[in-house]
Symmetry: C2
Subunit: 209 residues, 2 copies
Amino acid sequence: MKHYDAQAIEQLERRFRANLINSSSGFKSANLIGTKSKDGQENVAIFSSVVHLGSDPALIGYIQRPLGDHSHTYRNIMETGVYTINHVPAKLVEQAHYTSARLARDASEFEACRLSPYYLEGFEAPFVAESPVLLGMRFVQEIPIELNGTRLIIGKIEHLLFHAALVGADGNLALDQAQSAVVAGLDSYYGPSFLVKLPYAKASELPIF
Amino acid sequence: MKHYDAQAIEQLERRFRANLINSSSGFKSANLIGTKSKDGQENVAIFSSVVHLGSDPALIGYIQRPLGDHSHTYRNIMETGVYTINHVPAKLVEQAHYTSARLARDASEFEACRLSPYYLEGFEAPFVAESPVLLGMRFVQEIPIELNGTRLIIGKIEHLLFHAALVGADGNLALDQAQSAVVAGLDSYYGPSFLVKLPYAKASELPIF
């Protein structure tokens, strides 16, 4: 086993450390967040920090990095109060990845990366038409994480769209059929295949391992 | 496309909604969190809400559900200030899943689920010996999420252990070789296979899609 302690981690070369630490917490969901500025400029960007917070109410969070000149997603959410979260299917990982390029604010990643904006009547933020699972989010709260200048952005699901064939009788979405991709670290994409579905774990019915 | 709005989501049957919303944010990492009470009782439990917060300092968060009688992981972290995060490899998903059964506090999921505690000298929390990637965490901060009674638990990586063959020259861990599993919803496990590794996205070098 290779072993780094806190001091060894701090002394790693910056880029090596970023890759190592980013991949050390395991696979992450690959999602595109779609927004529109109050002037009507569309934006879409890939995020790997989306996290489930609760199902009743239906709340989802994501980690917003420290703000810079190019934090269009965050600024648009603050302007309009809405955004979309869209799964990245395996066939779109390359287009989705390049949404992280720092385009000018008046350029649309939808256009540059050949993704199609899709709108629901009465909901201002653009969905990604090519995605198999699409969420329309209403911004609820931001919680600053002062330790490193990031923030947890919390939204409530106002719209949930998916291909009807994906949902099982118990409500689970078949994310392998959706071909939803995952990402390791900053740049490596993977497509998951099904292993097993397990019953609710009851202490009284524990298997003997 | 199937479409649920906020009202339709609220009216779904409770269990169906939990499965649907839990799987709607995409795949999640499967991690075992290992702790020990100040009385020496070991505990290990599966979590799917681990989220990368930053690599310098190396910070990782997870979402703690509202506390109940069985929140041993949280209570142990508050008592000792340390915990471990351990990837669940594909071959262990069943054992890892059953750590969510509500055992009595004086029972160890390590024993019930046949997982092996592993200790580093001077670090009080048990690692999972069978895991391919193991993190020793020092609790730093908890941030309450008052919207639903959950909380973001933030820790700093004090120890990072992994099979030496997993790390690439650029610092990335090959999580497919680690066979790190992912989970969809509450109970469906998947093993990811490699798709593609992409370069840093520069606006000036955008491919033509």
